[in-house]
Amino acid sequence: MKKGLFSFFSEQKAEIFEQTIEHLWLTLMALTIAIAISLPVGIMMTRRIKLAKPILGIVNVIQTIPSLALLGFMIPLLGIGTVPAITALFLYALLPIIRNTYTGIIETDPGIKEAARGMGMTDFQSLIQVELPLALPTIFAGIKTATVINVGVATLTALIGAGGLGVFIFRGIALNNVNMILAGAIPAALMALMFDFFLGLIQQQIKKRRKLIVIAALVILVLMLGTITWNKLDFSGNSFKAGFPSEFIHREDGYQGLKKLYHLDLDVMEMDIGLMYDAIHNKKVDLVSGFSTDGRIGAFDLVVLDDDKHYFPPYHAAPLVRKQLIDTYPEVMDALNKIAGQINNPQMAALNYMADDAQLSPGEIAVAFLESMDLKTKYHPDGNADLIIGSKNFTENFILAEMFKILIENYTTLNVDLKMGFGGTKLVFDALRNGDIDIYPEYTGTGLLVLLPEEDRDTIIMYDREAVYEYVRKEFRERYDIHWLSPLGFNNTHTMVMRREHAERLGINTISELADYLQKQ
């Protein structure tokens, strides 16, 4: 950690504040809608007891859906951004409020309910004057639970481009930057604690000054929501939006350098790498950072903008292996070299497309490809693993890791385990250095720009495409005792991607033309 937490916070305070407000807004908006719907539903259930069980059953089921899965379900229905995020949060807030409204009212002392009816109150009068006021502390406890849950789940909505404090957390995980993770986690935790404390306070007080507190709480809620919503309304009319994953936004070889070189001024929305293509396809954004071997570029009729200033360095994929492993099992190298230089860009794009569109598993795709190369794929040893292959968390890396496994198992006597889906480059690389894994597929550009220390980088060579591989090979061996095996052939570099129809309409073919177009606006 080069910088202290405190200085990181003070540098980033504007964005931390902005994301905190966004987080608050998402939480409160979802909560308001949840209260507006749950209260009547909960009350109605006490009057139609037969409906109570099925309704509670449904909201219970919703509650058990893992939050990431629920966010995933939202995308095909509502796309990305705040609407699906608020919808998901709203669904999570339903159970505690509905359940507590229902039980709070149902469990009113029967003697008191009898007294209310015996006094001649109508059902409605009994509800308003007796049952609801008595259930209020329970209802409030439900609202408190829902709020705290929402503050927590709202950190995940960053994954579908809704912003919030999760932005820092996921960016931090991707960049292995603890300060950045804390910049999201600490305000989120504080927010949850504060809600818990203040709502707890209200819950205690509510036994007495019911009307006053309920009205005050409603007024505060509406005021907060109103203020934030008003500030969020974008009157600028700048409609050209870009969607980048957090790692790309902050990486040296990502948006930061691109912005400087091309004088690009983009309205950037942070989003999960898996969602970008859906987002651009559904016109939620107009530009995404793609990868040249991505199968969806062709599938969604997208177009790659020409990197006319040669900004993006080469990203040749190659197996990254611990030296110890090669010393112990030199035969691994021969096995993996069977596909060295054998996969070109269109081939890799086609393989990726099979996973993204044809819904084949990475293992099936690896087998299909190796068979087309007349390589052995059938042997599956069992028993304890001799080595472990890791991968990052995206399709291409999965497929390559599967290929490595099949090759080693068929051309050596070794057993292989897979440990897939590390959440970021640093994480998987550290696992390799620590010996948790022995091999994973890496890209030369990433090796140069992410894994070597900033001050030692020879960034001049990054535009000399062939020299990069030789450079990282030498540096990694000396520095980390880690070997780059022969590249597989394809160059999966970053690209800027637009919808074909959109790019043609605006007459944009290169990144420079895009920068010009945006400046004119």
Partner: protein, 303 residues
């Protein structure tokens, strides 16, 4: 005032109240007495429509209550329950004001009425802004009574109204209750399982068992003329006490050779109680003797 005709309530085909009929005259106290499960509370709750009868009729002032709006029926019938059922989130004042507010009384009238009832029920020392939880059991019971009387209903239904109290408080409140003018003119239907309470408060007692009326009549009639074995078995443990409760000093005076300087209308039970507490043992024994003579002659006359 209240006429009940062939009233029946069945749950799953089993009658819990079985074709009962009775009449409660205006201004009188009618006691439904019985063990739990005898149907007495179900009967009471049918009177204000909290439970709908399976068959039979209830007439109040000759009007069938099934044709009347249930809420307005209940607003005009006071209701006191065993669990008291004060609204815990309302102050003493708000609790008492519930029915007048439902009846849309003028706020000044409500205020005046609350003050009057608090005074009547010896609750002047209670802070009207306090909540039920801050009151003693006896005070809560009085507030519950005040709430039932708040709109000055002609009829008051009471379900074990003193059931939640300890025996001493219970006797005290019962004695106060009997003397309340506000109560004396009202038509009251009271449910209890306490024989002494029934004898003290009831003008008419209706002893129920298994949904049926075993006997109804004045305390005196039930004490001295049990109509069946159930009634005499039920009353046997209390027989002695009930007898001296239903006999007045003037009744036994002819059997005494001494002048008795007590209110001739007071019950023997109260008279003996007073004498004992004043330490006048001899006089008390003398009254006992006179009562035995009275009873002997009574039984001879019956035979």
């Amino acid at each position: 005032m209240i006429d009940v005709l062939n009233l029946t309530k069945e749950y799953n085909g089993r009658p819990v109240v079985d074709r009962i009929s009775f009449h409660v005259p205006e201004g009188k106290t009618f006691v439904l007495l019985g063990t739990s499960g005898s149907g007495k509370t179900t009967t009471l709750k049918m009177l204000n429509g909290l439970i709908q009868p399976t068959s039979g009729k209830i007439l109040i002032n000759d009007k069938d209550i099934s044709n009347v709006n249930q809420e307005s029926l209940r607003k005009n019938i006071g209701y006191v329950i065993q669990s008291i059922g004060l609204f815990p989130h309302m102050t003493v004042k708000e609790n008492i004001s519930v029915v007048p507010k439902l009846l849309k009384w003028h706020p000044d009238a409500i205020k005046e009425r609350v003050r009057f009832l608090l005074k009547l029920l010896n609750l002047e020392t209670v802070d009207t802004e306090s909540y039920p939880a801050q009151l003693s059991g006896g005070q809560q019971q009085r507030v519950g009574l005040a709430r039932a009387l708040a709109a000055d209903p002609p009829i008051v239904l009471m379900d074990e109204p003193f059931g939640a109290l300890d025996p001493i408080t219970r006797t005290d409140i019962r004695n106060e209750f009997k003397k309340l003018e506000e109560i004396i003119n009202k038509t009251i239907v009271l449910v209890t399982h306490d024989v002494t309470e029934a004898w003290e408060l009831g003008d008419t007692i209706c002893l129920m068992d298994d949904g049926k009326i075993m006997q109804k009549g004045s305390p005196k009639e039930l004490t001295w003329k049990a109509e069946n074995a159930f009634v005499s078995d039920f009353l046997r443990p209390h027989q002695w006490q009930l007898e001296i409760m239903t006999v007045a000093v003037k009744d036994v005076a002819p059997f005494s050779d001494k002048e008795i300087s007590l209110d001739p209308d007071t019950s023997l039970f109260n008279a003996i109680h007073t004498l004992e507490s004043e330490g006048k043992k001899t006089l008390s024994l003398h009254l006992h003797q006179a009562f035995l003579d009275y009873k002997t002659s009574f039984i001879k006359r019956e035979l």
